[in-house]
């Protein structure tokens, strides 16, 4: 049945001004799956997120969302299926937190965006879920990076989508906040059966949460599969171009990647 599949990409490619950024990516993301894309800087991860969220159109290839070609969706209908959380969050204009979260309802409302009682209850739930209820009346420019990120995740949840696409939501956050965001994503997937697709620059964190990892490099798909199959030191060293150790983490034996500082290289002749 097609309706078990959230996102299905076949041979998608993208180029900015004639420079190829992504070429021939094919993958499938099932409903309620935690799908994390990893890869070196400039490998096209952000572009891929924007394509899945419908912000950019793939030049070549097919992309299906919930069994229907993304081209056939009207903007507003697509916005009810997919929510997007960008990497850089604008705070120039000091909106009130509550208002920003409620903006997430706009795909379900008219042009003027008048919220009903049901919309307010969505708002309350989303704020509770992301633990920002006590920030409701604060302004965006008064928040820390982690709080701001949670506000925009709450906005995405308020959109009531089947799929949430996030571009490095944990970038520039400390370890505690990174864990908090990742736990939140896991809970969202488990409780609401929302498909979570995100980019992560932290390979270890990705390994511990992802059902499926996709490793891309220079716009090419290197490997897709469960963390254990993707994170082998041969693959990683080839992609990142630096020496790495891969073993199991002490918690659940999922792959743990340790970068090896230069001073140890000579002492490890057996590798």
């Amino acid at each position: 049945m097609m309706d078990e599949v959230s996102v299905c990409a076949k041979n998608i490619s993208y180029a900015y001004d004639g420079v190829s950024v992504l070429s021939n990516l094919s993958f499938t993301v099932n409903n309620g799956e935690f799908f994390i894309v990893i890869g070196p800087n400039g490998s096209g991860k952000t572009t891929l997120m924007k394509i899945i969220a419908g912000l950019l159109k793939p030049r070549i290839g097919k992309l299906e969302i919930k069994g229907q070609s993304i081209k056939k969706y009207k903007r507003k209908i697509l916005a009810r299926k997919i929510a997007f959380v960008p990497q850089q969050i604008p705070t120039d204009f000091p909106f009130v937190v509550e208002d920003v979260v409620l903006f997430g309802r706009s795909p379900h409302l008219g042009t003027f965006g008048l919220a009903s009682v049901a919309d307010i209850s969505h708002l309350k739930k989303a704020m509770k879920f992301t633990e920002i209820s006590d920030l409701a009346r604060r302004r965006l420019n008064q928040l820390s990076g982690g709080e701001c990120q949670r506000v925009f995740i709450a906005r995405a949840i308020c959109q009531n989508p089947d799929i949430i696409v996030l571009d490095e939501p944990t970038a520039s956050l400390d370890i505690a906040h990174q864990l908090r965001i990742m736990d939140m994503m896991e809970k969202m997937k488990q409780e609401k059966n929302i498909t979570v697709i995100m980019v992560s620059h932290d390979v270890n964190l990705a390994a511990m949460y992802a059902d499926t990892l996709m490793l891309i490099n220079r716009g090419q798909q290197v490997r897709v599969g469960p963390p254990g199959a993707v994170l082998t030191y041969k693959t990683l060293e080839a992609v990142y171009g630096c020496p790495l150790l891969v073993d199991g983490n002490p918690l659940d034996k999922l792959p743990r990647v340790t970068p090896v500082p230069g001073r140890y290289i000579k002492k490890m002749p057996g590798r």
Binding site: D17, K50, A53, G54, L55, R75, K76, I77, L78, A79, R80, I82, A83, F84, P86, Q88, P90, D92, F93, P94, F95, V96, D99, V100, F103, G104, S106, P107, T111, F112, G113, L114, A115, S116, Q159
Partner: protein, 331 residues
């Protein structure tokens, strides 16, 4: 009732009250030989259509105050829309040279002896759109609209427009020069009832349309991509609102020249008081901007010992320091 509607109504009520007070002041005071008229005498003149006061107050001051309110509303709204679409709190049709471009068109129209409507107005609209296009082209390139790039291009285009205007004026040999100069500096004194009606027909529908799209402006402020991901038709709304706004600003330029900085001062003040929700800010700007220009025009009429000066002088005297203050603070 939705809390947004309640806020819109409460804020509108406050601003309408404020506008009404200022308009009454505008009716009661003036530069004419009759001097300062008290409120009671104004009311009294109602019942006596043949008196001199009746003529001064209802045939001269009343249309002028109405036009000042509409022009002020249009210019503040212009600033608000530009700031939202360009996500730049310093964007404004005057600063970006849109008004200047419209003025070039209007002066050309006047020199060609076209009628004010539709001839001069159409050329002014073309001039405004042309400079808008030029500024956007200069400031974008391949990157996003950057704050500095946008302002710098605007300043360049604006000073180029000023040069063209000065050139056009200096090659004009006849008696129209004084009129053009006075009009150019933002003069509200030339209107009667028919002008007020025409301005209303042009501007009021624009106000309604912009109010209708005010929530889209909220979403656009979160960035193009986020707006797109929430189902906003970003391209259509951006272009549509820019055209409507340029049209509105060009219409005001045709009527009263360059009234500077209203679109900067009023949206800023109102944002500080009422927050960033454009569904509240649009009506607040319409009534508040109206009140502001009525007040500036009142000052322009009463401050000089003899005669009067253009209202644009007052708005520029207030607006330029505010702009510098905001620029300083945003750094």
């Amino acid at each position: 009732m939705s809390s947004v509607l309640k806020r819109i109504m409460a804020v509108s009520a406050i601003m309408i009250f404020f506008l009404a007070c200022v308009m009454v002041l505008g009716l009661c005071f003036g530069s004419s030989g009759t001097g300062i008229r008290s409120f009671a005498e104004t009311i009294e003149s109602f019942s006596n259509p043949n008196s001199l006061y009746y003529t001064i107050i209802w045939k001269i001051r009343f249309p002028r105050v109405i036009i000042a309110a509409m022009v002020g509303a249009a210019l503040s709204l212009g600033g608000l829309v530009f700031q939202a679409l360009m996500r730049n709190p310093l964007a404004e049709p005057y600063i970006l040279g849109i008004s200047g471009g419209a003025a070039i068109g209007a002066i050309l129209g006047i020199l060609l002896n076209l009628s004010r409507f539709p001839g001069v107005s159409f050329l002014a609209f073309l001039g405004g759109m042309g400079t808008l296009f030029l500024v956007l082209l200069l400031s974008t390139g391949k990157t996003l609209l950057k704050k500095e790039a946008l302002l710098l291009s605007g300043v360049m285009v604006n000073s180029f427009c000023s040069a063209v205007i000065m050139f056009l004026i200096s090659v004009t040999q006849d008696a129209r020069i004084h009129n053009i100069m006075f009009w150019l500096m933002g003069d509200l004194s030339s209107g009667g009832k028919s002008e007020a009606l025409l301005m209303g027909i042009i501007l009021l529908p624009c106000f309604v349309v912009i109010f209708w799209f005010s929530n889209s402006m909220n979403l656009l402020l979160l960035g193009k991509e986020m707006a797109l991901s929430m189902g906003v038709n970003v391209k259509f709304i951006t272009i549509f609102l820019l055209v409507i706004t340029s049209f509105m600003v060009s219409a005001t330029v045709c009527y009263c020249g360059l009234v500077a900085f209203v679109g900067l001062v009023i949206p800023h003040l109102l944002r500080m008081i009422f927050g960033t929700d454009h569904r509240v800010l649009v009506p607040a700007c319409i009534f508040g901007g109206g009140a502001y220009l009525v007040l500036c025009d009142l000052l322009a009429r009463t401050l000089p010992l003899q005669g009067e000066m253009p209202a644009g002088v007052i708005t520029a005297l207030i607006g330029a320091p505010v702009f510098i203050f905001l620029l300083k603070r945003s750094e």
